[in-house]
């Protein structure tokens, strides 16, 4: 039985801190078993319950193993491993009899803490992991400490962690990284997040407009473009089947521009995972960063599905170069349906209107025809364009874009729908832009004068959508409802914290999680070691070997030194006692022997006399005599330092 129940409780508390995040992740029976085992272990300490016999423990261990495999019944992966690890935490606790067992438990707890990164690497989890490591380290210190109080051990644990920080930073920056996600572990939860699909139908954009989820964040290298120029291009939809717009036409890669246009905008875009291949870029991207291709319709596509947060360095320019004239497939429409709309457009064509004039006519129709920008346009079936244009006249951006493209195509003007985001919110706390799902948007591009011209019908129906964002349209204020002052302040405060939190998260993502294989590589390159060249790789290897030799040499030297002078625990404890007395105003003279010191203390502080005398006698016997009880001395020093005076 462990001689000190209190210490065992402290160890268990540290284990609980380390295990807590897993409690919701592991199957119920695992969590229940761990808690029950810990409860029994506490009973062993405090109530004197028997340690389970060896055969029972073996059976329990085997049963746990079998249960885990039965439960998951598939190849061994992250969840199975964590479940097994958790069960071990419980099993080990009920066989803990000695300090050594408790050490094993604590080392196991470190391992459990690390497994958290397999689930989440976010800011909150990282902070909690640091706290867990602190708790486990403090418990480890406490296990070796003579005192009953926890605060000094926590402090020492924190100091130890702080001391390890430089090494951790060094490893973070220089430890070779592998391309791809951490250990190939995919975060399952990233699947099925909101975002665009590659079809556009009534309701597909408006369904996003209430989601405050972040789509991507943008760091502009230079000045931020005007708000009405912030069209984030994602998908170009080229075909219509009467109900939906979708991509059907084969695409080509865009010709590479060797010279970057002078009015370009350079920025870094950090895309939240959406499980698809397309990227978003400011109208219009002119170059494809590594790992992406630029299509001839001026959209960017990643070569890999965006399953984790990815950062791209992008360049855009407002006007792209002249491209080849589009073929008849860009005016294709279903053979029938929406007769009224067709009639309108054919009327424009018959009137001999040019492309510009037709666009203006369509915009004038939206502006003056009593159209309403609305999130709830009502359900439509059949000839949805006709219903929208001539009956309901209520719609969100996808309705307008869809209807306008239909009209233009009917009139023989090549046109297409572009889906993406419009606008974005600058975060003043991080000087970067947040683009949310609610900024989702759809607009039109029409072929005119040898290039594709961007036309946004929403701009004439709901100018405030472009000026202030979707929220201006959808929020109660935007809809003319007054809010009480208190609610407004509350809302502003919430906004402030939301932005601050987002800024913190963004920094974490950019600087910690975003430090990928590629960025490490570019760091090497900037330092003059290009791992992709033979010479650079050789230099890098040499440097690493040198660094390793230095570190190992230092460790070896320290070990050798410490072997030469083994730190005498008696001396250390006595030094602690002396420091305590020094704080109490009675420092030991360098040439003052222990008994003299004790007598002086007894003279100056008679109430301490007996305790000091005992302690010093124990010290003298240990250091100068042949006998002496280390445990007694340890306890005496612990008690003395713990007491108040």
């Amino acid at each position: 039985m462990i001689h000190d129940k209190r210490r065992f409780s402290v160890v268990l508390a540290a284990l609980a801190v380390a295990f807590a995040p897993h409690l919701l992740r592991v199957p119920l029976f695992v969590g229940a078993f761990v808690c029950a085992a810990w409860g029994y272990a506490l009973g062993m300490q405090y109530r004197g319950w028997a340690v389970p016999p060896r055969w029972l423990r073996v059976i329990l261990a085997l049963a746990c193993l079998a249960l885990v495999f039965a439960w998951y019944g598939r190849s061994f992966g992250r969840d199975e491993g964590v479940a097994l690890l958790s069960l071990m935490l419980g099993l080990k606790a009920i066989e803990s009899k000695s300090v050594r067992d408790m050490l094993a438990l604590l080392f196991l707890a470190y391992f459990v803490v690390v497994t958290n990164v397999l689930y989440s690497q976010g800011l909150v989890m990282s902070a909690y992991m640091i706290f867990s490591v602190l708790a486990v380290t403090a418990a480890l210190v406490h296990l070796h400490s003579a005192q009953a109080r926890l605060a000094p051990d926590l402090r020492r644990g924190a100091v130890l962690l702080a001391q390890s920080l430089p090494l951790a930073l060094l490893l973070f920056v220089f430890f070779p990284r592998l391309p791809g996600a951490l250990w190939g572990v995919q975060d399952d939860r990233d699947e099925g997040v909101t975002g665009f699909s590659d079809t556009l139908e009534p309701g597909s954009v408006s369904s996003l407009s209430l989601s405050a989820e972040v789509a991507f964040r943008v760091d502009f290298a230079g000045p931020v473009p005007d708000r009405d120029a912030l069209y984030w291009r994602g998908l170009v939809l080229d075909s219509f089947d009467g109900a939906r717009w979708f991509r059907a036409l084969p695409f080509e890669l865009a010709a590479r521009d060797d010279v970057l246009p002078p009015d370009r905008v350079e920025y870094a875009l950090t895309l939240e995972p959406h499980g698809k291949e397309w990227l978003f870029a400011l109208d219009l991207p002119v170059a494809a960063p590594r790992g992406t291709v630029l299509r001839s319709d001026r959209t960017l596509a990643s070569l890999r599905m965006v399953r984790s947060r990815m950062r791209f360095e992008l360049v855009s320019a407002p006007v792209a170069g002249v491209s080849r004239a589009p073929g008849p497939e860009w005016t294709a429409l279903p053979g029938e349906g929406n007769p009224q709309a067709r009639e309108l457009a054919l009327g424009w064509k018959a009137a001999g209107l040019g492309t510009r004039a037709m666009i203006d006519a369509a915009l004038a129709l939206f502006r003056d025809g009593g159209f309403v920008y609305s999130l709830q346009p009502g359900a439509m079936e059949g000839d949805i364009i006709d219903q929208f244009l001539f009956a309901s006249r209520r719609g969100y951006c996808e309705h307008y874009a869809s209807a306008m493209t239909f009209l233009l195509r009917t009139a023989g003007v090549p046109a297409r729908v572009v889906a993406g985001y419009q606008g974005g919110e600058m975060n003043p706390m991080g000087e970067y832009m947040i683009v949310r799902q609610s900024d989702a948007h759809a607009w039109v591009e029409a072929w005119d004068g040898g290039r594709w011209l961007r036309v946004d019908p929403t701009s004439v129906v709901a100018p405030q959508r472009l000026a202030f964002g979707a929220e201006a349209v959808t929020s109660p204020q935007g809809q003319g409802v007054d809010m009480p002052g208190g609610a407004r302040i509350l809302r502003r405060a919430a906004r402030f914290f939301q932005l601050g939190w987002d800024a913190a998260n963004n920094s974490w993502n950019q600087w910690v999680l975003g430090f990928s294989h590629d960025r490490q590589r570019s760091l090497w390159q900037r330092l003059g070691f290009d791992p992709s060249t033979r010479e650079g790789a050789g230099k890098l290897a040499g440097l690493l070997a040198l660094g390793l030799a230095v570190v190992l040499g230092a460790v070896f030297w320290f070990m050798l030194r410490s072997r030469r002078q083994p730190p005498d625990p008696v001396v250390l404890l006595y030094a602690r006692f002396c420091r305590r007395m020094e704080r109490a105003g009675l420092p030991r003279g360098a040439a003052e022997g222990p008994l003299d010191y004790a007598s002086r203390i007894a003279r100056e502080r008679p109430e301490l006399g007996p305790a000091v005398r005992d302690l010093v006698d124990a010290y003298a016997a240990l250091r100068y005599g042949s006998g002496g009880d280390m445990d007694v001395f340890n306890r005496l020093v612990g008690e003395f330092i713990g007491r108040r005076f």
């Binding site: 003279g589 022997g593 222990p594 008994l595 003298a620 100068y624 042949s626």
Partner: protein, 300 residues
């Protein structure tokens, strides 16, 4: 055993008043198999101390008054031809005793001084091709008058080393003085106490002192002390290794008197001034306080 010594010290304290430290040092000196040099003015109680010590410990006591015509034979003994036996018969000198009081040793000629000091070291007398062992224990208390008195031969430094301690008694404190003045019996002479132990027991105690433990940290401290006296040119000569060994022996005896079976730095510090004061001659003539030496060397 230690109780015996305590009792002896108590009894001595009743004879030599107010000189507990000096009594204790004398006792430690005896236990460490050393010899004691008392430097003081006449009439301060040196002889009383020596006599009382010998008596209390149940030891044989003799006294030699050194003068400048005292010959080595007067101290060591002499072989005289006995006509009746037709052989030389050795007449042992006063040195054949347990406790020898060599009074005013600096009045003797260097030759006589040397003869005595040699015997002190060897614990035997070699004369006429025969070696005679001195009784054991053998303990010399030499007294020395202050050096500025005329007609003296100061002991050379090499020979001062033979004495483990040099102490001075000094005037008694006021209370002791008063008590001394008030003594009326025996014409003011002190009543000598009876013996509480014997020569054999003293030998046994000396044996036990040898087994008092000296730990490595303590020896390191002694080493640092010796090192300090040698470095920095503070003294003409630093303490010799022999002095170092003597210091450890004396510290053992001191610890033993305290009833401990291990030596503490305090024991070393207690005996160091008496042990070093006659061995260290300050460079440049400025006296160096032995307490300052102790202050300067930290305990490891």
């Amino acid at each position: 055993m230690v109780d015996t010594l305590r009792r002896a010290l108590d009894l001595l304290g009743g004879v030599v008043l107010g000189k507990d430290l000096q009594l204790r040092l004398s006792m430690a000196c005896l236990l460490a198999r050393g010899h004691l040099l008392i430097e003081d003015i006449p009439g301060i109680g040196k002889t009383t101390l020596a006599k009382a010590l010998a008596t209390v410990l149940g030891l044989d006591f003799k006294r030699v008054q050194f003068t400048n015509d005292l010959l080595p034979a007067d101290v060591l003994g002499v072989s005289v031809f006995d006509a009746a036996e037709s052989a030389f018969v050795f007449h042992p000198g006063p040195v054949f005793t347990n406790v020898l009081l060599a009074d005013e040793i600096n009045r003797g000629t260097p030759r006589t001084q040397s003869a005595l000091l040699e015997v002190m070291e060897e614990q035997q007398v070699s004369l006429d091709n025969s070696t005679r062992l001195l009784p054991r224990p053998f303990f010399v208390l030499a007294t020395q008058n202050a050096l500025d008195q005329a007609g003296t031969y100061p002991l050379p430094e090499s020979q001062l080393d033979r004495f483990l301690f040099r102490i001075s008694l000094g005037y008694p404190d006021l209370d002791s003085e008063l008590e001394l003045l008030g003594r009326s019996q025996h014409g003011g002479r002190p009543v000598l106490p009876e013996a509480v132990t014997s020569a054999d027991e003293i030998l046994d105690l000396q044996e036990q002192v040898d087994h008092v433990r000296t730990s490595t940290p303590l020896l390191r401290y002694v080493r640092d002390l010796l090192e300090w006296t040698r470095a920095g040119g503070r003294f003409v000569n630093g303490l010799s290794p022999r002095a170092g060994q003597a210091l450890v022996r004396a510290a053992r005896a001191w610890a033993f008197l305290d009833g401990r079976d291990y030596v503490l730095p305090e024991d070393v510090q207690a005996v160091f001034p008496s042990l070093a004061v006659h061995r260290l001659r300050p460079a440049g003539g400025t006296p160096v306080d032995m307490a300052a030496v102790l202050e300067a060397v930290p305990i490891p």
